[in-house]
Structure formats: structure tokens, C-alpha cells
């Protein structure tokens, strides 16, 4: 490969915007950027874009995603990280840090005041509408006393550099600030991809900050416990930043839970685990304020915990940030921040803020209405992207309608100056382009102070013209390096975050929702594999039929097709006739395509794969990166297959082969990557149960009815093939295929891993390890069902099972009833396991049904 080295990256970087991170006010290149560019020059053109490819690959490998609602590309879009970090010198950063600490403290005091005495309103520092008219002001939270020194534990600020060269505060984030996990992931990736520059440039490390973060959560526990139980509360895998919740959970070693995992009893908060209830001391909350307690707040929320606020009120749990902190995510405060700073601290604001006009005041309102097309208008209580109006992009009629909205309730609107943020170099293809950047900086409470992360999450505008910077709109991100002149100390103890007493200590403490997801993961992976193998066998047979649309005359083929319907549960399918006969049987190829590819058809292979993917996404904090790679492979393979509108039968067989191979690799990885006490046991239980049930269904459909000997011979061969047991059979029996031997091998063998008896035996052993299982005289009900199934199998004899009542009978009644009973017992086992361990399915309902937003 040829390496064309440009003379210098610096010389090719063109920026027209006049406000670029690279340059000083005198248009000199800042020394530390020069250093970075020297490093880039050594890599050469292909070298740098090569590193970018490495990053893309690494992020994909690690499954770093960002969910975009209603995204045509589907959920779980890969996270974008640009290879060029944003660099800032410690000398400048120190001032920013001081400014952030001051602002965090001020907002903390505003928050305390809003839910306490409200002196700011009474003393005329802020107009009452700014608090009372903000939907995030939750009157239910007024008067709550907290155990933590600071009410605001985590504060995030979006910073951008104005034309005056200073960093300005653009947004405050306090409700459930996101981005810290992405910042950490960006750092871990960039430091690996640019090791030369990372070590030479003395980049301040993030580990001290995260150590403090961990301490902050520990200190937040009521009663100052030594080993508090901390959980991360997530809205679930559909949330846009779910990756981050899972990442932080595995990085910090706390269980990741959803509202359903938690319950309020006796004035305390408990986590439902496999063993029972476990008391929780601290909740790191990623569920929005209004959704966190359906008893007192939004009644239609299923993301929170009923009664949570009252537990907080009794000081029996700490929620970080406290419920109600959304009220200070409030641009209405900006015009009053100077006065607030004087009032509380008698200090001037260190960090400048964007010029803002609150429309609740007459003069300001008039100014805004007269200058609307040059301003950016926001609601005081809706700072998400959808509620921001950029005046200059609005048509006349849109401006009029915005005016009307403002006039209707002026106090709800704030207008801000539209300013040009600085740009920074961004690698785009093979060239460096200037792009607008916004940096999210994080502060956390640390004793009576705040600590600031020496770094942050830099977000980059999607193209060189866009000023809106946001992840949802498909921008990219950067690592943020705060560099200093002295050599930075390496982290001596890199394992500080390793599990201590707070980590999940065993199967007993496994959140029951995680347990259920693992159980279903096992069931769906088993279902996908067994069905894919059987369908492959069927498709091979269909491939031999000359004409695709020909009705299969051969009886054996008809039996095989009916089995597909029974196995997948895609009724009516081949199994049931309607008044027009059996349309599926008339065009079997078409029906098979639907059973394979129609993802909206319950039971189809595509549907099963979808369910399998969902259950895996929701436990992603347990995954290793190898598992991700294989999983992504399966997804890609399947996606590509579905996009092929008219795949040939050979193509289908090829895809099935690949699917099966990858599934097996995946299953192998699960077994070695997740520990039994992390819940692997539940996965195995699900897997064995599913495979057993499907084996029963397959055998029943293929073997319970007696056919003439050639048909029977072929069916036995199909069974063995789809069961991957033909070679074993030949090895074990060295004979013509006979039903009796097949039953011995596939159903009754105690040693053979694929036999039903073996799987049930294993199931029996596994369920005995569950927390509520009994080893004494009295078994639990699920143990009884499995024990009963096992003994029925052990008491059976293959020669009897082969027989029909008389020569003329076609049904093998013993075999049929045995399989029927087994099927029933396993179904009951599943029900019993569910009600014993996954009982979070108790439906939460309101005594009255009321549905309205807070």
C-alpha cells in the first residue's frame, strides 16, 4: 500500500469561520494543537484515516450504540467518534472548572430554595413564573429533606466558545444528565487508537473523577453505610442512551434495573432478585422526574416505582439526582443568574452565558417579538431539540404562529441570541474540515464542593453548515483532552473500579428482570437453532422437487411440511385446512418463505430471531465484545437476507447454514463469557427447556403416526438429520435406520447430549440450584414437574413405544401419550418458574384511569 504523505495536515486545514479552536486571537496555531498535528503528520494521510477506520471498527465491535427514535436505520445506530480529539490547555480549563463549580453550586442553591423556602421568589430575585410556571416544578417534592449535603449531585453543562474567545454556557442539564458514559467510552477508544499522541501530550486522566463519582454514590446512602446497595435505574433498552446505562453499570459494578425490578414495601425500596427482596440505598436515576413514581407523579408511567418519593421523604433511600431536579433545567433562569449569584454568593458569574430574554417581562417580550427572526426561542421547561425554534429558519407564517404562542403564555418562553460557536478540525473522508462543536462538561458533588471531569463529551455538527449540534440528528462526537505541560501520573491502580462489596454477589441477588431476560434469551436461541435446522432439512427436500409451485405428492414431504407448522406454531400453515382446502400445501414454497422471512408472523424464523435480539439487547451489560461481534454478524447476515427480494433456494440454504454456524459460535461464547452466578444458569434452563419442548413436538409430529416403511424410513432420516444425529446413529448402531433405535438415541439415551432424557436430566440438575429449590423431602412444584418428566422417560421402553394397538391401527398411542404428557409437564414447569421467579409481571394499575401529562 502506498502512503502519500501530505506536506502537513496543518497546511491543508482551511477554516473560513474565523473562530476556530486551532487558532489564537492572533491567528497563530496554539502550541498544543501543533503538537497533535505533528503526530498526525507522522501518520500520513492514509495513516490518519486508517486510525479513523480502527475507531469505527472498535466501536462496532464493542457495540457502542445510540438509539434514535423512529430511525429508518433501525434502533441501535452505531456511535460515531471522530479520530481528532478536541484539545484544551489546563491553564484555560482551570478557569472553566472554577466557573462550572460556581454554577453547579448556584444551581444547587436554586434547587434547594425552589423546594424549600422559595426566598428567591419572596425576595423578588426571580419572578414566580420561572419556578411555578415550569412543568418540572413538582409540588409533590416540596419540603422533602435530603440526606446528601448537595441536592444537585450531578450537573452537566453544554459549553461552546463564543466569538470573544471565551467558553460560554449554552445549556444546563440536571434532571438525569447523560453523556458521562459516552465520554468514558470515547476516552478509552481514542487513547487506544492514538497511543503516541495520548502519551506525549500529557492528557489529564479521567480515573480520579470516576473514583470520586463512585464515592459520591456511596456517601449518598442514608445512614452513611459502608457498603450501600446501589442500582442504576434505566427506562430500558429502547431509551436513546441505553448503551450508556449498561456501560456505566458494568463499569461501576452496580446492577442495572428497571422500574419493574424495584418495589416499595414497609417504607423502604427493594430490588426483586431471584432470592427475594434486597434493600436498596442509592438509586442512580436515568428515568425522567415525572416518570419516576406513578403513585405521586405521572400515573401512566411504567418506568418508575410506585411509592418511591415517599421512601425518599422518609430518608430511606437517596435518588441521584433527586426527583424534581428538572426544574433547574430552565433557560428562564439565565437572565437572573447574575442576580442569583450576587444573592447567594455575592460573586460575579465566572462563565459567560448566552444573552437571553425572558418573555414574562414586558420590555423583554416586546424586544423578542420585534426581533424574532434573529433569535432562538425555547420553552423554559422543554429544552429538547423539538421545542427549539431557530428564528432565521422560520417562514413568515411560522413566525406568526410562534408569536401567537408567545403572546398566549409569555412566561413560558425565553429567546436567546443566535451565536456562532467555534469550529474544530474534524476528519471527514480524507480531509480535515472545520465543524461546530459543543462540549458537555460534568460536575459532581464531592463533600461540600463540586468536582469537575477533566474532559467531557464533545459533540460535532453533522455538516459544515449546521449549527444545531445533537446526537439525535446524526452528528459525531470527539474525545476531549485537557493537556498540561508536566507529565501526568499514570493511574497506579487501574482496577479501582473492580467489584467490591457492592457488586452483584451471586445468583440470589440477580434482578429478576435480568433473570427473566436470560431465561428467554436461552429459550429464543434454542428455538432459533432447532427451527433453523429443521427448516434447512425441509428446504433441502423442496430443492429436489422440480417445480417450485408443484403440490407435493409425496406423503413424506407432506408430513415434513406439517411438522414445520407444528414446530414453529405458524398455524394454520400446512396443518389445518380451511374451506378452500389447504392453500399452503398447494404452494409450499411460498408458505415456507413466509415461515422463514415474515417477521410479523409469530413463530416465523424472522420473528424468533427478532425476539432473540430483543432479549439480548436488554441484558447487554453482561456481554463480552466477542459476543457482540458474533451477534452483529448474525444481524447483518439476516438483514442482508431479508433485503434480497427473491432469494434462490440455494441462497436460502446457504444463509441457513451460516446462521446455524454463527448461532453455535454465539452459544459457545455465552457459556464462557457469562458466569453462572451472573445468571447463566437461567439461560441454560431456558435453553434446555426450549430444546426439550421442540424435540417433543418434532418427534410427535413425525413419529406418532405409522406410515408405510419407505416413508417411515425417510422420515426417520430427516429427523436424525435435523437433529444433527445421523452420524452418531450410524456410529452407535451400524445398521439400517429403525424406529426403535432412533427412539433410544433421540429420546431415551441417558448419556447422549442431544437426547431428550439427557436434556431433562440436566434441567433437573440446573433448577435444583435456583434459590428457592429444595433439596429436602419436599420439592418445589417446578422440581416436581421435571422430576415426573424424567421418571416417565426412564420408565419407558422403546420397543413398546414403537407399537400400535393392533396391526391395523396407525397411531402409536404409547408414544403419542408419553410425548403429550411430557409436553404438558414442561409447559407447567415454565409456568411455575415464571410465577416463582419472574413475578414482577404483577400488573400495575391505577385505581382511576387518568391519563395526562404533568
Amino acid at each position: 500500500m502506498s502512503t502519500t504523505t501530505k506536506a502537513s495536515w496543518l497546511n491543508t486545514y482551511e477554516t473560513k469561520f474565523g473562530n476556530d479552536e486551532l487558532f489564537t486571537a492572533n491567528n497563530d496555531v496554539k502550541t498544543y494543537w501543533k503538537k497533535l498535528f505533528t503526530g498526525f503528520d507522522k501518520l500520513g494521510e492514509n495513516g490518519l484515516s486508517g486510525r479513523q477506520k480502527d475507531i469505527d471498527w472498535l466501536l462496532l465491535e464493542n457495540g457502542v450504540t445510540y438509539n434514535v427514535y423512529n430511525d429508518p436505520q433501525g434502533m441501535h445506530r452505531p456511535w460515531n467518534l471522530n479520530v481528532v480529539p478536541l484539545v484544551m490547555h489546563r491553564n484555560e480549563w482551570q478557569n472553566v472548572e472554577a466557573g462550572l463549580k460556581q454554577r453547579a453550586e448556584l444551581l444547587n442553591l436554586v434547587l434547594k430554595d425552589a423546594y424549600g423556602e422559595r426566598r428567591l421568589i419572596k425576595d423578588g430575585i426571580i419572578p414566580h413564573e420561572i419556578i411555578y410556571g415550569h412543568r418540572g416544578f413538582l409540588r409533590q417534592c416540596a419540603g422533602i429533606e435530603y440526606t446528601t449535603e448537595k441536592l444537585l449531585s450531578i450537573y452537566a453543562a453544554d459549553l461552546a466558545r463564543g466569538t470573544d474567545g471565551r467558553l460560554w454556557v449554552v445549556n444546563d442539564r440536571t434532571e438525569a444528565p447523560s453523556g458521562m458514559g459516552y465520554a468514558l467510552e470515547n476516552r478509552s477508544t481514542t487513547s487506544r487508537i492514538l497511543p503516541e499522541m495520548y502519551s506525549k501530550m500529557n492528557v489529564t486522566r479521567l480515573s480520579t473523577f470516576f473514583k470520586e463519582f463512585h464515592q459520591m454514590l456511596i456517601h449518598a446512602a442514608p445512614g452513611k453505610k459502608d457498603n450501600p446497595n446501589i442500582v442504576i435505574l434505566t427506562p430500558g433498552s429502547h431509551n436513546e442512551t441505553y448503551f450508556e446505562h449498561a456501560y456505566m453499570a458494568s463499569f461501576l459494578g452496580y446492577p442495572l434495573v428497571q422500574g419493574n425490578d424495584l418495589v416499595v414495601r414497609d417504607g423502604f425500596l427493594w430490588m426483586k432478585s431471584l432470592q427475594g427482596l434486597k434493600k436498596i440505598d442509592v438509586v442512580l436515576r436515568r428515568v425522567d422526574d415525572a416518570f419516576s413514581d406513578p403513585l405521586e407523579l405521572r400515573e401512566d408511567s411504567h418506568l418508575g416505582v410506585a411509592g418511591l418519593l415517599d421512601v425518599v421523604r422518609r430518608k430511606n433511600v437517596s435518588v441521584i439526582n433527586p426527583v424534581g431536579s428538572g426544574v433547574i433545567e430552565n433557560p428562564g433562569l439565565i437572565p437572573f443568574m447574575h442576580a442569583i449569584s450576587k444573592y447567594f454568593l455575592n460573586e460575579d458569574l465566572i462563565l459567560p452565558q448566552i444573552a437571553s430574554w425572558w418573555c414574562g417581562q414586558e420590555k423583554e417580550k416586546n424586544y423578542v417579538l420585534n426581533n424574532l427572526s434573529n433569535l432562538v426561542v425555547k420553552r423554559i421547561d422543554r429544552t429538547n431539540r423539538e421545542s427549539i425554534y431557530f428564528g432565521k429558519f422560520l417562514s413568515d407564517s411560522e413566525l406568526e404562529s410562534l408569536k401567537a404562542q408567545i403572546l398566549e403564555r409569555p412566561y413560558r418562553f425565553v429567546a436567546q441570541e443566535q451565536i456562532n460557536f467555534s469550529t474544530a478540525p474534524n476528519l471527514s473522508g480524507n480531509i480535515l474540515e472545520p465543524r461546530n462543536v459543543v462540549t458537555r462538561a460534568f460536575s459532581i458533588a464531592s463533600g461540600d464542593q463540586y468536582s469537575v471531569m477533566p474532559g467531557g463529551l464533545v459533540r460535532v455538527a453533522p455538516d459544515s453548515r449546521t449549527v444545531r449540534v445533537s446526537n439525535q440528528r446524526g452528528g459525531t462526537s470527539k474525545d476531549f483532552w485537557v493537556v498540561e505541560d508536566q507529565v501526568v501520573k499514570e493511574d497506579k491502580n487501574k482496577n479501582w473500579e473492580q467489584k467490591s462489596a457492592i457488586a452483584i454477589s451471586g445468583l440470589d441477588d440477580l434482578p429478576s428482570l435480568t433473570a427473566e431476560n436470560l431465561y428467554w434469551a436461552g429459550r429464543y436461541v434454542g428455538r432459533t437453532l432447532v427451527n433453523a435446522r429443521f427448516i434447512r432439512t425441509v428446504m433441502r427436500q423442496l430443492a429436489m422437487v422440480q417445480n417450485r409451485d408443484e403440490k407435493p405428492e409425496a406423503l413424506k414431504l407432506q408430513v415434513l411440511l406439517k411438522t414445520v407448522t407444528h414446530l414453529t406454531g405458524t398455524y394454520p400453515g400446512f396443518a389445518e385446512k380451511n374451506k378452500d382446502g389447504n392453500p399452503a400445501m398447494d404452494s409450499p414454497y411460498e408458505e415456507m418463505l413466509s415461515v422463514i422471512r415474515d417477521k410479523n408472523r409469530v413463530g416465523s424464523l424472522a420473528h424468533t430471531i427478532g425476539m432473540f435480539s430483543n432479549s439480548y439487547y436488554s441484558i447487554r451489560n453482561l456481554w463480552s465484545s466477542d459476543m457482540w461481534r458474533v451477534f452483529e454478524n448474525i444481524q447483518k447476515l439476516w438483514q442482508g437476507f431479508l433485503e434480497d427480494e427473491n432469494p434462490s433456494i440455494l441462497k436460502i440454504l446457504k444463509v441457513l447454514n451460516q446462521l446455524i454456524t454463527r448461532l453455535i459460535a454465539f452459544m459457545g461464547l455465552i457459556e464462557e463469557s457469562i458466569m453462572v452466578q451472573q445468571g447463566l444458569l437461567l439461560y441454560f434452563i431456558g435453553l434446555q427447556l426450549e430444546q426439550s419442548m421442540l424435540t417433543i413436538s418434532k418427534c410427535r409430529s413425525l413419529l406418532a403416526v405409522k406410515y408405510e416403511s419407505q416413508v417411515e424410513y425417510d422420515l426417520l432420516e430427516y429427523l436424525l438429520t435435523s437433529h444433527e444425529s445421523l452420524n452418531i446413529y450410524r456410529y452407535s448402531y451400524r445398521s439400517h435406520i429403525q424406529l426403535e433405535h432412533v427412539l433410544d438415541l433421540v429420546i431415551l439415551d441417558v448419556e447422549y447430549a442431544r437426547s431428550l432424557t439427557f436434556m431433562i436430566k440436566r434441567l433437573q440438575k440446573d433448577i435444583a440450584r435456583l434459590p428457592h429449590s429444595r433439596k429436602d423431602q419436599q420439592l418445589t412444584s417446578y422440581q416436581k414437574y421435571v422430576f415426573s418428566a424424567f421418571s416417565k422417560l426412564r420408565l419407558s421402553e422403546s420397543n413398546k413405544l414403537c407399537m400400535t394397538k393392533s396391526k391395523n391401527d396407525v397411531v402409536r398411542e404409547d408414544l403419542d401419550s408419553l410425548l403429550g404428557e411430557l409436553s404438558d409437564l414442561l409447559y407447567k414447569t415454565s409456568q411455575s418458574l415464571t410465577s416463582t421467579y419472574f413475578n414482577h409481571t404483577d400488573r400495575q394499575t391505577q385505581m382511576f384511569t387518568q391519563s395526562f401529562p404533568i
Binding site: 411555578y132 406513578p294 422518609r314 398566549e408 400488573r843 394499575t845 391505577q846
Partner: protein, 296 residues
């Protein structure tokens, strides 16, 4: 006047409930011209825990949870209350109250005395009374005019609601939007109170929702009052420079001693008598009975 109020709420579930968390606003609050002499709450099955606190508006909030499986929940309260509202009622008709015009009231709203500061939040939107459409504002402006007495305007608004709206129970639910009630001109006491509040806020004055009871035994020869056998609700308007004045649009009268205050807030959302989250499947049937007995 002294009253014994017995308020019984019963929920019957068609499938057993494993546990529930509830909030009740049933203990009558501290209020001008009214004192609570005695109060008892009796819940069956017995709650695992029960606590009481004052909420943001100064109402008593009782929180309890039942952790045993049950198919019926019964909450009974007995309150003994003395009402001596006569002088307050009479003060509404004084010059101090009646002389304040709309223009004066809106100006006085800018004062920073504690009572006005406290009242101002009741101008803003609330959970059940959000954006009010043109119809509501126009309806309000027929009564509220710049040079007219605010008291007279509010009094007329009450009368108009009484005349224009039909008392029809079962037509609306608590989640029926104010706009729809305005359009249909039908509803119950909650709806009428909320309509009035929406109207008053639309012209820029503070109004709040009052939840309570009304004595329904008719004195000999007088008409029976509507609102029997259930909780009652009415509204209160803040006249800047004077104070809060209550009006009952359901019965077209200014509350005197027969109205008993339980709590108040921005709208029904802030003071539901009983609400809760239930864990279990199935539906529930609600039965409420209120009995008011005059002791002396």
C-alpha cells in the same frame, strides 16, 4: 354549626390485589371559619403502614399501603367539624370587597405582599386546566370587564354557569378536558368548578379549586341542594387587595356554614380524595357514600 361527616369509599376488585399504595386527601384542612374537632380514619384491610403529612398547599395527605392480598378496599373517615363562616361570608358583600374593579385588581396583583405572592401561582396553567381556548376566554369576558367589580363579575359567572350548564353525572370523567365541558355545557360539580377557574385565569386572575362536602338535608320548606352523597367541589377567586372568595356554581350560592372544606389546590389533580396504584390484574368497582349529620 357542628357536623359529623362520615365518608366511605369502597373499591371491589374482580381479581385479588396483591398490594397497593394509596394517597388520600380526606382530613379537612385548616381553613378560615372552620375547625376540625375530631377525625378518625379506618382502613380495611389494615394497612401495613400509614403516614400523614402536609402537602405544598397545606392539605393533609394520608399515605398508606396494603401488602396483604385483598379483593375489597374500604376507607372510612369520620370528621367532626365546627363551621362559623357567617362573618366571613358577610364580609364578601362589604365595600372593601365589592368596590375592587378588574383594572384595580390586575394592578394590585403586582404587589409583593405575602398573600398576593402566594396567590399569583393560581393564575398559571395547571395539570387539568391547561391552555384555555378562545371560547373560555370569551365566556369569561362577558362577565369580567375592566371597570366592573371583580366580585360582581365572579358572582355573575357563578350564576351563568349554574344557568347555562346542566348537572349530568356520568357524562364526564376526571380526565374530560375543560374545553369539552365548555362545548357540551354538561358535567358535575368538579367540572363546573374547573370551568370557572379556567375562565378566571383566562382573564389573568388567580383561582383555585376547593374540595369538600355540602350538607344536603334541606331545612323545612327549602329546596334540596344538589351534590348529596358524594364529595363536593367549588371554586375560590383571589381578589387582590381583599382576599379569597368562595363560590359554588353547582348550587348558585356563596358558601356559608353548610359547605365544609377538605382541601384546595390548582384543580382536581391536586386534591383527589383517594388515589392509588394497585398491583394485580382486573378491574375495580367504586362506591362512595358521604353522610353529613348536624350535631348542633
Amino acid at each position: 354549626m357542628v357536623f359529623n361527616v362520615t365518608h366511605i369509599t369502597t373499591y371491589k376488585y374482580n381479581a385479588p390485589v396483591n398490594y397497593c399504595h394509596n394517597i388520600a386527601t380526606l382530613r379537612p384542612r385548616k381553613s378560615d371559619g372552620q375547625e376540625l374537632l375530631d377525625y378518625k380514619i379506618n382502613i380495611s384491610p389494615k394497612p401495613a403502614e400509614i403516614t400523614e403529612r402536609l402537602d405544598f398547599f397545606g392539605n393533609y395527605i394520608t399515605r398508606f399501603s396494603i401488602q396483604a392480598e385483598h379483593d375489597t378496599l374500604k376507607v372510612m373517615t369520620k370528621s367532626k367539624i365546627i363551621r362559623h363562616y357567617g362573618t366571613i361570608h358577610d364580609s364578601f358583600f362589604s365595600d372593601a370587597c365589592r368596590s375592587i374593579t378588574m383594572t384595580q385588581a390586575l394592578n394590585a396583583l403586582n404587589e409583593n405582599d405575602p398573600a398576593t405572592m402566594e396567590a399569583k401561582q393560581f393564575v398559571l396553567e395547571s395539570i387539568f386546566i391547561r391552555r384555555t381556548d378562545k371560547n373560555i376566554r370569551e365566556y369569561a369576558e362577558l362577565s369580567f370587564q375592566a371597570n366592573r367589580s371583580v366580585f360582581d363579575a365572579a358572582h355573575e359567572l357563578m350564576q351563568r354557569i349554574y344557568t347555562d350548564f346542566d348537572f349530568v353525572s356520568g357524562f364526564t370523567s376526571i380526565s374530560t378536558p375543560v374545553e369539552e365541558v365548555m362545548k357540551e355545557k354538561k358535567g358535575v360539580c368538579q367540572d363546573f368548578a374547573q370551568i370557572a377557574i379556567a375562565c378566571i385565569r383566562s382573564v389573568g386572575l388567580p383561582a383555585r379549586y376547593v374540595s369538600g362536602y355540602i350538607e344536603t338535608l334541606p331545612p323545612p320548606g327549602k329546596e334540596k341542594l344538589v351534590g348529596a352523597d358524594a364529595s363536593h367541589a367549588w371554586f375560590s377567586i383571589f381578589i387582590p387587595g381583599f382576599g379569597w372568595v368562595d363560590f359554588d356554581p353547582t348550587n348558585n350560592q356563596i358558601p356559608k356554614d353548610q359547605h365544609i372544606v377538605v382541601g384546595w389546590g390548582r384543580d382536581y389533580y391536586d386534591v383527589p380524595p383517594l388515589k392509588g396504584v394497585v398491583y394485580g390484574s382486573g378491574k375495580s368497582k367504586l362506591k362512595v357514600s358521604v353522610d353529613i349529620a348536624r350535631v348542633s
